[in-house]
């Protein structure tokens, strides 16, 4: 029962081969086996979005995905947003707008916002609110978060 299964996946552009227990989630494996602690463990029922990562272009709650399910997939975590040591424009907008208060939800917010802007580069306010509805902020800093996403989207025009 505790047999492990070999999986291969791409995490933030890097090929990884590892063995995982079937009952370990993607979140468990990212944090405990790959030492990528950006995705946070919080509600564990898919309501808060603190564990949000992108799998093959789409956001998922990594607490509700078994690691074996992503065998062969490409995973992006918040650690994969910066390029060559520079924050992405979206991350910079979060900083500039003071979107991070306690910061715990921010990796998840960033991943949802990143995925939103990939498919909808010019979102309306409603689009941003709907796109980020699965990410709760316990500091209730929603206004600054939404402002940051809209600012990053505007910035993409220049």
């Amino acid at each position: 029962m505790s047999d492990t299964i070999p999986i291969q996946l791409t995490v933030n552009g890097r090929q990884r081969s590892l063995r995982v227990a079937p009952h370990h989630t993607l979140l468990d494996v990212l944090r405990d086996d790959l030492d990528l602690t950006g995705a946070k463990e919080c509600c564990l029922v898919g309501e808060c979005g603190a564990c949000t990562v992108i799998v093959d272009g789409r956001t998922v709650d990594s607490c509700l995905v078994l690691a074996v399910e992503v065998d062969g997939a490409s995973v992006t975590t918040v650690e994969g947003l910066a390029r060559d040591g520079s924050l992405s424009p979206l991350q910079q907008a979060f900083l500039d707008r003071g979107a991070a208060q306690c910061g715990y939800c921010i990796p998840g917010q960033l991943m949802s916002a990143h995925a939103l802007l990939e498919t909808n580069p010019h979102p309306s306010l409603d689009d941003v609110q709907e796109g980020l509805a699965g990410n709760l902020c316990r500091c209730a800093g929603y206004q600054q978060i939404v402002d940051a996403v809209l600012a990053a989207a505007d910035g993409a025009d220049r």
């Binding site: 227990a21 079937p22 009952h23 898919g46 956001t59 998922v60 078994l66 949802s112 609110q129 699965g134």
Partner: protein, 286 residues
């Protein structure tokens, strides 16, 4: 989480054989948005989890064939909500799929999983009832087709047999023009389970189909063939009387944490009228 073995069949025959071999010890995994929560809280402790996502015949697909739209078992809400054929012929299903959970949930949650989980609050159920969906169940003896109204039994229970799995959900392409709308009430805007979820469909022959959930052990379908609801000349009083009779099937639980029975019944009336208006507008607008 309790340890379990993991199986990843590549064919439908293999999946059914695994299900037959492990019986009650097995659980099927599609999107996992319900299953993994229950594996973690210990309310389900299967010895084996059978992942259906690599089954060739069940790959995500929405196909138009033989006068119906067939939605495969691993199709997710995001794709169903965006599919042009679903939006054209079954707009109330697209609307329901678009409000389930959050983006993250819709990217994983499947239509098949939503009906197999058989939550009374399942948002796709009322639309499937209104459109007369058919569940394609695959088992050792082959496939059988179960009308959706005969599929739901009560919370967590369906007429699917232990050795069967849902291969697809089929929607007959409407022979008549239908105006339909899905509406729901939640405690807060955004990501929440429905306190009332309801779909109304009116066809150009004046038949009104109304289905609602989250107000009893299973979603309910009612049909008004009198034409009263569809008739623009009907008085408000006449319509209210018909709607009231259609809501007799509601029996909301007094123990729910989401809403009181009184609130649910009041919202049922309000949403019923709203969905009927929307359905009539859409029928009129083509």
């Amino acid at each position: 989480m309790h340890p379990f073995a993991y199986e990843r069949p590549g064919s439908l025959a293999e999946a059914i054989a695994l299900l037959g071999r492990h019986g009650a010890e097995a659980r099927l995994l599609a999107g996992g948005t319900d299953l993994i929560i229950r594996l973690r809280d210990g309310s389900l402790r299967p010895s084996v989890v059978i992942d259906l996502k690599r089954v060739e015949e069940l790959r995500p697909a929405i196909r138009e064939e033989d006068g119906r739209l067939s939605i495969s078992a691993t199709s997710v809400m995001t794709d169903i909500a965006a599919d042009p054929r679903v939006r054209r012929h079954f707009v109330a299903l697209a609307e329901a799929a678009a409000v389930i959970g959050s983006v993250q949930i819709r990217n994983r949650a499947t239509l098949a999983g939503n009906i197999c989980n058989a939550s009374p609050a399942a948002d796709t159920a009322p639309s499937l009832l209104v459109y007369g969906a058919v569940v394609v169940a695959a088992g050792p003896a082959g496939t059988r087709r179960i009308p959706i109204d005969e599929f739901f039994v009560r919370s967590g229970a369906t007429t699917l047999q232990r050795d069967e799995l849902v291969a697809a959900v089929e929607l007959p392409l409407p022979a008549r023009r239908i105006g339909a709308a899905h509406v729901r009430r939640t405690r807060r805007r955004g990501h929440d389970l429905a306190s009332v979820t309801l779909t109304c469909g009116v066809d150009d022959a004046g038949v009104t189909r109304l289905a609602y959930g989250s107000v009893g052990p299973r979603p309910v379908l009612e049909v008004d063939e009198s034409g009263t609801l569809a008739d623009p000349g009907s008085t408000g009083e006449a319509r209210a009387g018909v709607l009231e009779r259609m809501f007799l099937g509601a029996s909301p639980s007094p123990r729910s944490m989401r809403a009181s029975p009184e609130y649910r019944v009041a919202m049922l009336r309000a949403l019923g009228e709203r969905a009927l208006r929307m359905a009539l507008d859409r029928l009129g607008g083509g």
